[in-house]
């Protein structure tokens, strides 16, 4: 069996059942004969919203007889050839009830040769979703102690018994010393500003999915009582972004940053939001 436009005549008949539209067959009660020359003969029966297809056999007694060559038949079905043009060129002949033939267009969804969409401008399927998962985080005793301190307007750090390093927010261990931290120390609450991340890029707040207002400043603050890299990470009062100075230590070269103090929230629940931000300490 030959292929036309990359499609077998049989493909079109074999997919009729899956392309059949009962709503398009309403009121149609007829037998259609298809004589596709060398490709073969098919008989389509439509009755009470259902269809049956028989291959080969006698086509006498059909309500409509369609005579057409394989190439034209495929062309008609995939939209390459116009039916009226084919009739005009006598490539397509219809015997019997012509109105019934005209109704066949409604009986089926269009045949699209599978795989051929690739060469056309294909509709590429895109699904957009937002994953939204409720989470519950266990603070554990160490982070819990720190967060509870914030409720009482206290910033706590945990101290390494070996190197004396302060960590805030606290960790259970000092990783370089590989020991459990065992002592709580109150630090700040004021301190010296070091790093300023002056953020123009609006990233989403992952806790809400909402885009943050820009510009904003994420800062590293060396709170009073802390040394070296023991900085505290929080936000800067947004209207003071251009009024602050970063502190920098580079070998012997020391630049002191602006003095900052925390602005506490009225309702404190033991979270990072208990401090609204840090502001310049005049």
């Amino acid at each position: 069996m030959a292929e036309y436009y990359g499609v077998d005549v049989a493909d079109i008949f074999n997919t009729m059942k899956s392309r059949f539209r009962p709503e398009g067959a309403e009121g149609v009660d007829a037998v259609f004969g298809y004589d596709i020359g060398e490709e073969g003969k098919w008989k389509l029966t439509v009755r009470q919203g259902e269809m049956t297809l028989d291959e080969g056999g006698d086509l006498s007694g059909c309500d409509v007889l369609v005579k057409v060559d394989g190439r034209t038949f495929v062309g008609l079905n995939i939209g390459k050839i116009d039916a009226m043009a084919a009739l005009g060129a006598a490539k397509l002949k219809v015997e019997g009830d012509f109105n019934l033939f005209a109704a066949t267009g409604k009986l089926f969804t269009k045949y699209v040769p599978p795989g051929q969409e690739v060469e056309q401008e294909q509709e590429l399927v895109v699904l957009k979703r937002t994953i939204s998962v409720n989470q519950r985080f266990a603070t554990g005793p160490v982070m819990g102690t720190f967060l509870k301190g914030l409720k009482e307007k206290k910033i706590l750090a945990i101290k390494c018994p070996v190197c004396g390093r302060l960590q805030s927010p606290p960790r259970e261990v000092c990783a370089p010393c590989r020991v459990r931290n065992d002592e709580w120390v109150e630090i700040g609450p004021s301190g010296e500003m070091r790093m300023l991340e002056y953020c123009y890029y609006a990233s989403p707040d992952p806790l809400t999915g909402e885009t943050r207002e820009t510009p904003y400043g994420a800062i590293g603050i060396l709170l009073d009582g802390c040394r070296k890299d023991e900085v505290f990470w929080h936000l800067l009062r947004p209207d003071q972004l251009d009024a602050v100075q970063m502190g920098i230590v580079m070998g012997d070269k020391v630049v002191h940053g602006s003095r900052l103090r925390p602005v506490w929230s009225e309702n404190r629940t033991g979270s990072i939001n208990d401090i609204r931000y840090f502001e310049i300490d005049q």
């Binding site: 590429l124 895109v126 979703r129 994953i131 989470q135 985080f137 603070t139 982070m143 967060l147 927010p169 960790r171 990783a175 370089p176 070091r194 790093m195 300023l196 991340e197 002056y198 953020c199 123009y200 890029y201 990233s203 989403p204 707040d205 992952p206 806790l207 994420a218 800062i219 590293g220 060396l222 070296k228 890299d229 023991e230 900085v231 990470w233 929080h234 936000l235 970063m246 502190g247 920098i248 230590v249 580079m250 070998g251 070269k253 630049v255 940053g257 979270s271 990072i272 939001n273």
Partner: protein
């Protein structure tokens, strides 16, 4: 450190890279991965039956798909084989190479294929990275992978004008390299006379980090096939040998103290250890090419000092004098690097793949002129983590 020499040599015998781009609506994940897998198999002249084990990885939370290694057997060919999934953030690609190298060197498998991928178009990169931070504190504060820390540091040490000009020079060199690499995602054809304009007008992201400095968000995959020495010599006419690799992680931390020099970074620590145990006295002399994981021009500029153990302004001068160009004294990222192309889970692996192509001498238009025998590739991820990989043309070390 509990480091021991390898049981046996391991050679890279096949390399595959997709074309990298921001738009791969035409393929789903396993289909995209398969492009790299097919290329690597063809490059090695192997069939999937010749592969003993598949190691697969990406950075999670970007595509919002879990256990992609299972779904991706359609593309990797891991069906019925030993398979592992590795995911270590930005360093994933380097970890995949380290893992595959270890699996072959150990004697467990003779031929291992590593596959790294990312389809960043499918997710939200900055949101994804931010969600990896500690949910009780850092999630509220972290701005994805965007930071001006390197810019603050270089400016504090060398002054605004010199620092900004050096960073933009680095950026333009990387773009010139990317223009030679047909796989590169972004190649803008920047010209030297655009430096002042870009320094002044490229949109700022954070502080002195501007859009032009920052890496792209890319889709793509990379596959590399590793084989033990005997098989490697049989499979490939020019296997590239994985001499050594080192991974340095540390406590989750960002440098927000502005407490700078001297500073012990994982990059410098890894480089010192790696060179020491391999007897490399002068890495600048020794290596013929370096593929660096440079997520921004500021980081790339700053990290030259760490990786080559330089002092003072030596790294700035390397860039100012354009010694890091493809035909310079120390070619850095002839591929265009990470600023041009960043499919995160594949990115660090592309560094190794590109360095290996340079050693084979078949990188194409972005081939470094002259004989390339010794290659270095770096990975970066997490909160300042490092994987460094050494590649060799011969096994005479």
């Amino acid at each position: 450190m509990g480091y021991k020499n390898k049981n046996r040599h391991v050679g890279i015998v096949g390399i595959g890279e997709t074309k990298f781009s921001s738009h791969r609506e035409d393929v789903n994940q396993p289909e995209m991965i398969h492009e790299a897998v097919r290329q690597a198999l063809d490059d090695a002249g192997l069939g999937i039956d010749d592969i003993d084990c598949v190691v697969h990885g990406n950075m999670e939370l970007f595509e919002m798909v879990h256990q992609p290694d299972m779904w991706h057997t359609l593309g990797t060919g891991a069906y019925g084989k030993s398979a592992f999934r590795l995911t270590t953030g930005g360093t994933t690609g380097g970890t995949l190479v380290s893992g595959a190298d270890n699996l072959v060197a150990s004697g467990m498998y003779d031929v291992v294929m590593a596959v790294g991928f990312q389809k960043l178009q499918e997710g939200h990169t900055t949101g994804g990275i931010t969600n990896m931070a500690d949910p009780l504190w850092a999630r509220k504060l972290q701005s994805g992978a965007l930071t001006a820390q390197a810019a603050v540091k270089v400016i504090a040490e060398f002054g605004e004008e010199r620092a900004r000009r050096a960073a933009m020079t680095y950026r333009i060199i990387m773009d010139k390299h990317a223009c030679k690499n047909p796989n590169a995602h972004r190649a803008f054809h920047l010209e030297w006379d655009q430096i002042d304009d870009l320094m002044a007008h490229s949109p700022p992201l954070i502080g002195d980090l501007r859009l032009i400095h920052m890496c792209s968000q890319s889709d793509g995959a990379c596959a590399i096939i590793f084989a033990e020495e005997k098989k490697a010599r049989k499979i490939s006419e020019k296997p590239v040998w994985v001499r050594d690799h080192i991974t340095v992680h540390r406590e989750e931390t960002l440098n927000l103290a502005n407490n700078y020099y001297p500073i012990d970074t994982t990059h410098r620590f890894a480089a010192e250890k790696l060179y020491e145990r391999n007897g490399i006295d002068n890495p600048l002399e020794y290596f013929d090419v370096f593929e660096m994981y440079d997520p921004s021009a500021w980081w790339g500029l700053d990290w030259l000092r760490d990786f080559f153990l330089l002092e003072g302004d030596a790294h700035i001068r390397m860039v100012e004098n354009r010694e890091i160009m493809i035909d310079g004294k120390m070619p850095i990222n002839p591929s265009g690097g990470v600023i041009s192309t960043n499919p995160i889970g594949a990115t660090a692996m592309i560094r190794v793949a590109e360095a290996a192509k340079q050693i084979r001498g078949d990188a194409g238009e972005h081939q470094v002129p002259g004989n390339v025998e010794h290659g270095l590739a770096s990975s970066f991820g997490g909160t300042m983590w490092t994987v460094l990989t050494m590649l060799e043309k011969e096994t005479n070390w």
